[in-house]
Amino acid sequence: MLEVKDLSVHYGVIEAIRNVSFEVNEGEIVSLIGANGAGKSTILKAISGLHQPSNGEIVYEGTAITKETPKKIVEKGISQVPEGRHIFSGMTVMENLEMGAFLRKDKAEVQNDLNNIFARFPILKERMKQDAATLSGGEQQMVAMGRALMSRPRLLLLDEPSMGLAPILIKEIFHIIEEINQTGTTVLLIEQNAKMALKIANRGYVLETGNVVQTGTGKELLESDVIQKAYLGG
């Protein structure tokens, strides 16, 4: 479904990622794990069209989207939940969700999806008239995820969904990610929380200073020495 080939991205003269290649198959959950500064977020930004790669190609369902605008990429069915949530403060929860459906014209279907999101995140329905900035971290994460789902993505990109959340909430969020995946949405997940990310993943890739250093199924990686030592403290 998504194929990233030899992707390199520079910030000015600094190389953030070098020749990164990986793929995501339809229906999968794929986790990219790695420490801070490994270039994980840069990869997602490049996929969403926020950064122009200096080299390489991003192919989505057979067509290159490397040079497409963020708008075109959303239209094609790729949606991102950015790191740090980036909800729209000063706008209500409802308005935040509406923004997710910005490009959609099928009003009845949008309403339908909105109901589904409220069913999945009941707390958001309670708080729909509240300024999204007044919500707790976990609730904001739900807004960000709901907002991304409102574009009806076929591929959902998640950047550090567990960041800054309490362990019990992290569990809940990961459970929701699995549920979203089961309804037919392919998921590309980026995490520092390697354990959780690999547990739910079909496959994973380990990034170090801009390179893919290891790959395998989620289970394989969880049990591998490199991961045990570097990320799981064991």
């Binding site: 969403s48 069209g49 926020l50 605008t69 963020p70 708008k71 959303v74 239209e75 949606s79 991102q80 950015p82 740090g84 980036h86 909800i87 729209f88 403060s89 000063g90 706008m91 308005e95 509406e98 923004m99 997710g100 910005f102 490009l103 907002r147 991304a148 574009s151």
Partner: protein, 292 residues
């Protein structure tokens, strides 16, 4: 007491005009963090468009107002596309200096085409005075209140309820997240200039009617005062610009009426200094802590 109410009405008329200009400052600042110093000159161009439409095309008040708003809006969008858009990733000071350059260009362009002389603005409205219990309100003042009121309601509706308005708010709080929603940031910025400049154009026509005279340098002082108004209300906050504009208009009028009209400008600029010392975020501004 009668004088006070009378001065209040005069202050509100002037304040409405400042508020209309301040809205453009604040919206543009909200979305691209630029103090658009050419904004006062768009207001001036709006006045000249109104003048030309009435004088040369025989238009009435409303058609002239709408034409001035439309052409000012186009001018604002054009300026943004030509002068500011190429500097999107440049430092803020570079864009600010460009804005000052655009301001000079507009002033001198109009000097070239219309000359430096002060022109009498054609009085398309009969200057009737309504008197209620000793308080006088002119037809022009009523027109200023009415027009400002309608435009502000319209603006609030656009910003709060329409898709483009919501996109504007989204881009001004978080441009990169807005891009992830598929919002075209450049178009949204153009739309903001369109709205802000149209309000400035309307203010230009209203001032022409109110003070009867226009000239190519007329945008400088009201532009600065509207900027003070925007800062006073809280820059980037739309209701703040309305409150700030009305407050500055009332203060300026009261200082002239009860104090010394020679120092009214000094008082207005003094407010800018005070607000920057005491409450830099403005009346409605919240102190935003940046999360790192």
């Amino acid at each position: 007491m009668d004088t006070f109410i009378q001065q209040m009405i005069n202050g509100l008329s002037l304040g409405s005009i400042y508020a209309l200009i301040a809205l453009g400052y604040t919206m543009v600042y909200g979305i691209i963090k630029l103090i658009n110093f050419a904004h006062g000159d768009i207001y001036m161009v709006g006045a000249f468009v109104g003048y030309t439409m009435i004088n040369s095309f025989g238009m009435g008040f409303f058609p002239a107002l709408v034409t001035a708003m439309a052409l000012s809006a186009l001018l604002g969008v054009l300026i943004e596309r030509i002068a500011y858009k190429p500097l999107r990733n440049a430092t803020r000071i570079a864009v600010l200096i460009t804005a000052i350059g655009v301001s000079y260009l507009l002033q001198n362009g109009m000097l070239y085409f219309y000359g430096a002389g002060v022109r009498a603005f054609p009085q398309v409205l009969e200057n009737k005075l309504y008197s209620v219990g000793g308080i006088k309100v002119s037809q022009i003042q009523l027109m200023i209140f009415g027009t400002t009121f309608i435009l502000m309601i319209l603006l609030q509706f656009i910003v709060q309820k329409t898709k483009m308005g919501k996109a504007m708010r989204a881009v001004s709080t978080d441009a990169s997240a807005a891009q992830l929603m598929g919002i075209n940031v450049d178009n949204t910025i153009s739309f903001t200039f369109f709205l802000g400049s149209s309000l400035a154009g309307a203010a230009g026509v209203l001032v022409g009617l109110y003070y009867n005279t226009i000239d190519p340098m007329m945008g400088v002082a009201p532009g600065l005062k509207a900027f003070v108004a925007a800062v006073l209300g809280g820059i980037g906050i739309i209701p703040g610009a309305m409150i700030g504009g009305l407050t500055i208009g009332i203060i300026e009028t009261m200082v002239s009426a009860y104090g010394n009209s020679m120092i009214r400008d000094a008082v207005v600029y003094g407010i800018l200094i005070l607000i920057l010392i005491i409450r830099p975020a403005g009346i409605l501004g919240k102190h935003v802590k940046e999360k790192v």
